[in-house]
Subunit: 417 residues, 2 copies
């Protein structure tokens, strides 16, 4: 589809960087560039208060819904029919300053620059920050956007209990962000999220912009391998049923499955614990996880099948039992071709180098894709580091990504689907 | 060498079993058959007091040395020139009732039965329990017997600090077992230790007696594998330096090395911890241990060489660094052929089924072997379970092993080296 060329404004890079730095002071982790603002914590409240102040300063209509999602719009109709930017401002326990925050503050900058330019918008612009994207304190991640699109009831959200024994509804009330705007929320005309890549692909290739085509499907499996505990010295090899050896074999098999399938398939054994975890005891049982991701649902299912088959073979050969359960399963999400193509085209017009790519991480955009045409823009993460105070994106990339977000949002105000 | 046939007495099986049961009441773990008597704890004191009372009841000369080793002898010269039995009465945190205790109480039973039979001994009989054989509270294991044979100075022993911040010398003083008998101790004529196998070999084969030829050499290596932490979704396989994959490969390689070398070679990965140990993070570094054992020093060195070589190859292939350090290294110990042959011959005379075998676990006997002709007798451990409250040896095996110990000790009183 051939979209019309949008109006153009120039964003104010210095103002963007100042806001990122100011927000990063809240929950700042000493001697690092990082932040700790877990969802619904005091630091989250302070961060929310600051961003909401900025939203009000621009004269936007600001609403908070019943799960704490905040939407600011150039229209009193809020997100309804608006071209919307957004992301989140909560962080993992020891996070970086760009993850999430960039998308929100870039959206705010686009609106400020657009208002300053006095452009007569055909549709309103909006920017949102969604509650608890990280899921570090309360499961699931992307909680706020999931509720916004009707994928989780407000009641369920408010009743979620965290590992620390606190409850979402009470914490939301405590920090003053249990609002009254309806959830599920209004349907925007389009949604575009700018985000750091959180992976090494752009940085390694020396490219400026990732044109995100969709989000990988995710399959998390926990395996509990039960063999027999034995003394490491007194048990001949032939008499062993060693859960740790099988865990090692499964780790090697997961790597092989990813390499054999190729494409976007990745496989990770991130968590593994043998019991009793002593140097001289053959572990009685070992618990491990396998994280499989693919942009293609059929390929992901193939990877799952191969893992199941290899696991069963290895269990039989060693004489151990394996109990497997699914910890998480999401099908891949495909973003709207029209939005994706438009982002790529506008990036090229700005002379930015681009790469079409999937997102390996989950984002609020994948929820929003359920209710409106959606796309994402990635900027490089140095060395692919994220969820870590050392997370970094160069200033020129932050600014280039925000300018591309401005071009995209304005172009989409002129498009009818 | 053809040893003379010894005098014969019959041990009192019921009395042996009663003492085992009575000692097991001290530090008993509720609802199990197990015991918790960590070295130099209040429970260890109570256990020591009970056994020392029994020693005194038999009219034996009882001494406690400066590291808490207790020796009871039919002679006022103590262990000097005596035929000595022994083992330990401390346990791991959640141990069984037979490990160690059997050897001590069997030695006591042999002495009691011999005295009751009024046999005129050519050499004294002695029985010892050595301090802190398990090493669970204070390193190293076999501490008391190591000091007894001069392998560790008394000063070093007394200054050892435990993980709980306590110090051996102070705890020994506190429980009243910092004695005045000299350490290193007197040299016995011979030393024989009866012990449960702590492995499955005898039980699996349906055999009654293990004639222990020596103790396997032990090589413990800790590997710290350092790769790069990455997001499990956003990092393509080709860009990974995954410490956990290498840990899995090393685990598989350790198994393969043991199988290729064959013989008594065993290899165990008992402890492994990836960091940060999260399902969706490629572990930045993984710490693991490899436990290699062999009865033959050259073969053990070969296994170590192969592990080093495979580890280096795997590290290079993945682009990770591996730092390796030795946590423990003991050469194999060979027991005295004359004692070993004699045990086998006497077992056969009793109609007991036997198997010559190495000990895969460490025992006080391997220290005593440095100063006098030494041997060990194993009785079966059901399912090879040990260091666990479920540890079990059938009563008839306990009695048969003790009778064989009696035959052996008496025979050795009549032997000159």
């Amino acid at each position: 589809m051939d979209l019309p060329h949008g109006s153009s404004i120039s964003i104010n890079g210095a103002r963007l960087l100042e806001r990122i730095a100011e927000l990063a002071q809240i929950g700042a982790i000493e001697n690092t560039q990082g932040c700790s603002r877990l969802a619904f914590s005091d630091a989250d409240r302070e961060g929310r208060d600051l961003v909401v102040t900025w939203m009000h300063d621009l004269g936007l209509a600001v609403t908070t819904d019943t799960v704490g999602n905040v939407v600011a719009s150039t229209s009193d109709d809020g997100a309804s029919g608006a071209v919307m930017a957004g992301s989140h401002i909560d962080t993992v326990g020891t996070g970086g300053r760009y993850d999430g925050n960039l998308g929100v503050l870039a959206g705010l900058e686009v609106i400020e620059a657009t208002l300053a330019a006095g452009i007569d918008l055909q549709r309103p612009l909006a920017v949102a920050f969604f509650s608890n994207e990280e899921g570090s304190r309360y499961p699931p991640d992307m909680m706020g956007s999931l509720a916004y699109v009707g994928g989780m009831s407000v009641e369920s959200v408010l009743n979620v209990e965290g590992a620390d024994g606190t409850v979402v509804g009470e914490e939301l009330e405590r920090i003053g962000y249990r609002g009254s705007a309806p959830c599920p929320g209004a349907i925007p005309h389009a949604y575009v999220e700018l985000h750091i890549e959180q992976g090494p692909v752009l940085d390694q290739a020396g490219l400026q912009i990732g044109v995100v085509e969709g989000v990988q499907g995710i399959s998390w499996t926990e395996l509990v391998i039960t063999g027999q505990s034995n003394h490491a010295g007194t048990t001949p090899m032939a008499l062993r049923r060693d859960s740790m050896v099988v865990a090692g074999q499964v780790t090697v098999a997961a790597r092989a499955i990813a390499l054999e399938l190729g494409g976007s398939q990745v496989a990770t054994v991130g968590s593994l614990t043998p019991h009793p975890n002593l140097v001289n005891v053959v572990p009685a049982h070992t618990t491990m996880t396998v994280d499989l991701r693919n942009t293609d649902e059929k390929s992901l299912q193939l990877a799952e099948d191969q893992l199941r088959q290899r696991t069963a073979e290895l269990a039989e050969a060693e004489g151990v039992e394996i109990n497997s359960r699914t910890l998480a399963r999401f099908e891949p999400v495909e973003f709207d071709d029209r939005v994706v193509d438009r982002i790529e085209q506008l990036a090229t017009q700005r002379g930015l180098s681009t790469k079409r790519m999937p997102s390996g991480a989950g984002h609020d955009a994948q929820m929003m894709a359920r209710i409106c045409p959606t796309g994402m823009i990635f900027v490089p993460s140095v060395d692919g580091v994220s969820h870590n105070p050392a997370e970094h994106t160069d200033e020129e990339d932050l600014i280039a990504g925000t300018q591309l977000l401005a071009d995209t949002l304005l172009a989409l105000t002129e498009v009818a689907w």
